[in-house]
């Protein structure tokens, strides 16, 4: 049942952006690996290949519409994995985030991002209203609360808040009443001091560091200071590939994950950084376009949710390394090292391409011969 229109609607630009990001990710990680002394780039290459195969097979052999039914299963699997993390999760660096599968460790909280997008899209598809008030939102909010709590418990405040952002993005897509919006905003501001009390000291520290990064240049603000030095010292054209002193002399922490953008900007300068931003822009633009051109509600929500997910990751990660946002461990899609993140992104990209390619199925008029 292969349809020629399928190929016509396949978003080549989006596909190209994904490939370019993977290429840049590999090249950049090659330098980051040399800096850290671990060959991350080869493992990442395996994720890229496996993820790309998964992405393309999702596009070709899977119809996203199946998710309107199976989203519930996906949601339950996600919650189950997150609960599993609580009991048998691997602890690294003080938080219990990983599940060991023997050959690889997976990070269910990463996969939870895409699963959240799917379940919420499905919910809003089934619960179709022209506008939503607060009373209409408590059920999806409850759905969200389970993974948010489990992830916050790991603890991984960043990812937990990230799920809230995805929820907010999809609520925006579903149209929230103005009154409800203002009410939510007011509540958020009012409860901030209470939330502040619940934060752990290091989390408060990060927020304080964000507000005044110079308050302790050798303490918690050290990473951001060094990251800014790395980016800034790249100047217009960068220090040259593999020559980023900040990264290669270990002044930059986590060069392969959270601070991947910093080493890129240090070695390739403003020009390289803007090119990378441009590719992200291309990817996100095509993503939103797919959502915009979707002919039905589920596809539009799914595409918008996936794009929003990628968008917030890019904004938070790059904003953080440039000192515009507090330090939260959100990876940069496809550029940061990490199998779970790569898979999440490529599954999302697969769904985007899927929605985009199947647009024609809802077109009016006779099937072309």
């Amino acid at each position: 049942m292969f349809d020629r229109r399928f190929l016509e609607h396949f978003d080549w630009w989006l596909f190209l952006a994904i490939l370019l990001l993977m290429a840049i990710g590999f090249v950049n990680l090659n330098s980051g690996s040399a800096a850290t002394g671990y060959p991350f780039q080869w493992k990442q290459l395996q994720w890229y290949i496996a993820g790309t195969v998964l992405m393309l097979s999702l596009v070709v052999f899977f119809d996203y519409r199946l998710l309107t039914v199976y989203s519930v299963h996906i949601y339950l699997i996600m919650v189950f994995m997150l609960i599993l993390v609580v009991f048998i999760g691997k602890t690294v660096g003080g938080s219990q985030r990983w599940l060991s599968l023997g050959f690889m460790n997976i990070q269910p909280s990463e996969l939870a991002k895409i699963a959240t997008v799917i379940i919420l899209s499905s919910y809003f598809y089934h619960d179709d209203r022209p506008q939503y008030g607060l009373t209409d939102l408590w059920r999806p909010f409850l759905l969200m609360l389970v993974p948010i709590f489990l992830i916050y418990h790991q603890p991984d405040l960043g990812t937990a808040l990230f799920l809230v952002l995805i929820f907010a993005s999809l609520v925006y897509m579903a149209r929230l009443q103005w009154t409800s919006f203002l009410l939510l905003l007011g509540t958020a501001i009012a409860t901030f001091p209470v939330v502040w009390e619940f934060l752990k000291p290091y989390q408060r520290g990060r927020i304080m560091d964000f507000i005044s990064p110079g308050r302790d240049p050798l303490g918690a603000g050290y990473h951001i200071s060094q990251s800014k030095i790395a980016i800034g010292s790249g100047q217009l054209l960068g220090k040259g590939y593999m020559k980023g002193s900040q990264a290669h002399l270990n002044f930059l922490p986590e060069v392969h994950t959270d601070f991947a953008f910093s080493i890129w900007a240090e070695e390739w300068g403003w020009v390289g950084a803007v090119i990378l931003l441009g590719i992200f822009f291309l990817m996100l633009y095509r993503g939103f376009l797919i959502a915009s051109q979707s002919k039905e509600r589920f596809g539009a929500f799914l595409a918008f949710g996936v794009t929003a997910m990628l968008f917030w990751q890019v904004v938070i990660n790059i904003g953080m390394v440039m000192g515009l946002m507090p330090v939260v461990g959100i990876p940069l899609p496809l550029v940061s090292y990490g199998g779970s993140s790569v898979f999440t992104t490529l599954i999302g990209a697969g769904l985007l391409l899927n929605v985009g390619s199947r647009r024609f199925m809802f077109q009016k008029g006779p099937r072309p011969k």
Binding site: G232, S233, Q246, A265, A273, F281, A291, E296, F298, F304
Partner: protein, 635 residues
């Protein structure tokens, strides 16, 4: 199953209105995203282009540590090239605060390793003002091997700590002439600002007082620099480049090690000073200020108690008494008086006065030290037996102005011109001065006591040594020098020092000969005051002096008197009388009579000197190198 699948495909399409609403939302999202991307590009522009240079410098500083390379400090040698002050490696435990991280945890670890409490270490860390965080701080200077190995083996767990090797002074012959050589100490905060210490930083060792301070710039050499690339933990990645240090220059002093050691030995137990010069050139061969201090103590740090001892108000170990001590010249001043009297024609060598041990002036009685009196006394006898009455008469006839003029011409009351800071001028009183100072006219009685070297007159041992040398060499007053030459590290001579004739004594050669003959008598005659300096093989000429510290009334037997009321003992001498090679001035504070205390000290110095000059005695026992009955031929 089939049915179910069918319903799945049948998703609801948007109606026209929903489609438009959907597009609007996505357009807004695209706009927001676009704004974010633009903001990020602008932020990147700000970081990388506008602040780029600043951040580039910061990243350079991050990875480049420049380490100063200390040049070896120049050596200080004696005139024969024997090492007085060399260099040895000194191991310091240092700290770069920027690399430490948790200072409290580090202190807890360091404290047992250094064997000191945290409270002791903490003050050395310095305050915020102690320069930038990346400048190393010395927390333990001169650590011993045991401490070093303890720290070295745990260095990996002590971030920011490293061991620095700096050159420190080594004294192969022990502490030699510390007052002349000076010592090394940590640079003071005021000195860092000064132009001559440019490039120095807190914790550097610089010369303090003496030669070390005066020739700091020659001795210090030029610091080198090694630039290192380090990683975030401060660990060395590679050496970028290196500018080697230029070693300091070596100083050859005119000091003779053997003579200096013997002089210090002879002065041991006395508070005072000793200067030995070559009378023909004005070169200082030995310079002692007693008690000495240990220059090493300053390098490793001095505790309160040691500092108190160094500043003891009685013995004043830090003062260079040869240059800075001011004493009444007492009878040694009679040399000046005799020369003045002869030159002014007040007396001839045959003029004699009768000494009855008493001299009346108005209603006051002035006494001679010899209560029996000397009887008929001419100039020769007056100098040999140090008759006070003779010089009272002479003084009265000369008048205070002439006395002051001659004292000045003999180099008293003004600096000798030795190239060291803080030299004292001494003091010569005049009637004008007294009128200004006390609003009182000059008394004739004051002229009398000035004539025997008491009263207001104050001289330094160095001045007396120069004066003695001038008498010995036929009338040339030299500015004393203590340096032979300065050589570069490769041995070539950078600068050599010639003797500096400063003045000519205003005394004719024949008059000087009369005085010299009397000075020989003052050591060698039967009733000579300085006979304890008489030597069998060498003809010594000299003059004793016993300076009263308190008035006659208070003076009783010396051993019953409080130490601080006892007399200062003086002895100035030169030898051999026929061809002077060595002039010596000795002063022992509150030690008693010049003849019994200072003369034996001088004798030991002469003995050593002539032992050095001719280690094997050429003359047999009982034979002398000169004919004592024909002294005139020799002097």
């Amino acid at each position: 199953m089939k049915f179910k699948v069918k319903t799945i495909w049948r998703v609801k399409r948007f109606d026209k209105l929903d489609q438009e609403a959907n597009k609007r939302r996505c357009d807004v999202a695209i706009l927001i995203m676009f704004l974010f991307v633009v903001t990020f590009c602008a932020r990147l522009w700000h970081l990388q282009i506008i602040q780029g240079k600043h951040f580039r410098e910061q990243s350079e500083r991050n990875r480049i540590r420049s380490v100063r390379l200390q040049p070896p400090r120049g050596k200080i040698l004696d005139r024969t090239g024997r090492l007085l002050a060399g260099i040895k490696p000194c191991f310091n435990v240092c700290l770069v605060r920027e690399d430490v991280g948790d200072m409290e945890a580090l202190l807890a670890k360091l404290s047992p390793l250094l064997g000191e409490t945290e409270a002791e270490i903490r003050p050395r860390l310095g305050s915020e003002q102690k320069g930038p965080q990346y400048v190393p701080i010395v927390i333990k200077r001169g650590a011993d091997w045991e401490t070093l190995s303890r720290i070295e083996s745990r260095l990996f767990s002590l971030p920011g700590v490293f061991i620095e090797v700096t050159p420190a002074r080594k004294y192969p012959y022990g502490s030699i002439a510390p007052h002349l050589l000076g010592y090394l100490g940590e640079i003071s905060r005021e000195d860092i600002e000064k132009e001559r210490y440019k490039g120095a930083r807190s914790g550097d060792m610089v010369g303090k007082c003496g030669v070390e301070e005066r020739f700091e710039n020659d001795l210090a050499g030029i610091k080198g620099q090694r630039r290192l690339e380090v990683d975030a933990g401060g660990r060395l990645v590679r050496v970028i480049d290196e500018k080697p240090p230029v070693p300091g220059k070596d100083l050859y002093l005119s000091i003779d090690l053997d003579l200096q050691q013997a002089s210090e030995e002879a002065m041991k137990g006395y508070v005072g000073a000793l200067v030995a010069l070559d009378p023909q050139t004005g070169r200082i061969l030995a310079l002692v200020s007693s008690p000495a201090f240990d220059p090493d103590a300053f390098a490793t740090g001095i505790n309160n108690e040691e500092w108190k001892a160094l500043n003891d108000p009685v013995s004043r170990p830090l003062q260079n008494k040869a240059l800075q001590g001011r004493y009444a010249p007492a009878s040694t001043f009679k040399i000046v008086m005799a020369a003045a009297a002869l030159q002014e024609g007040i007396v001839t060598k045959n003029t004699s006065f009768k000494c009855t041990s008493q001299f009346r002036l108005g209603r006051s009685v002035f006494r001679c030290w010899n209560w029996r009196g000397h009887g008929q006394t001419n100039l020769y006898k007056a100098l040999v037996e140090s008759c006070d009455i003779y010089f009272y008469q002479v003084g009265l006839k000369l008048g205070i102005d002439k006395i002051a003029k001659y004292a000045d011409a003999f180099g008293l009351g003004s600096k000798t011109g030795i190239d060291l800071p803080n030299e004292s001028k001494g003091f010569i009183a005049t009637p004008d001065w007294k009128l200004e100072r006390y609003q009182e006219p000059w008394q004739e009685g004051e002229t009398l006591i000035t004539a025997i070297g008491q009263g207001f007159t104050l001289v330094t041992p160095l001045q007396m040594a120069c004066l003695t040398a001038a008498v010995a060499n036929g009338g040339t007053l030299y500015s004393p020098i203590y340096l032979e030459k300065i050589t570069g590290p490769d041995g070539h001579i950078v600068k050599s020092f010639e003797s500096i004739p400063k003045d000519k004594l205003p005394v004719s050669e024949s008059n000087l000969r009369i005085i010299r003959k009397a000075l020989v008598g003052a050591v060698n005659d039967k009733k000579a005051t300085g006979k304890q300096c008489k030597m069998p093989d060498v003809l010594v000429a000299g003059k004793t002096g016993t300076a009263q510290v308190v008035g006659q009334a208070k003076r009783r037997q010396d051993d019953k008197l409080d130490w601080k009321y006892r007399d200062h003992a003086w002895f100035v001498a030169y030898a051999p009388a026929e061809k002077p090679e060595l002039a010596v001035a000795v002063l022992c504070e509150h030690a008693g009579h010049g003849g019994s205390v200072a003369a034996p000290v001088a004798r030991k110095v002469f003995e050593t000197w002539f032992q050095i000059q001719s280690p094997l005695p050429v003359l047999g026992h009982g034979k002398t190198a000169f004919n004592r009955n024909n002294i005139d031929d020799h002097v």
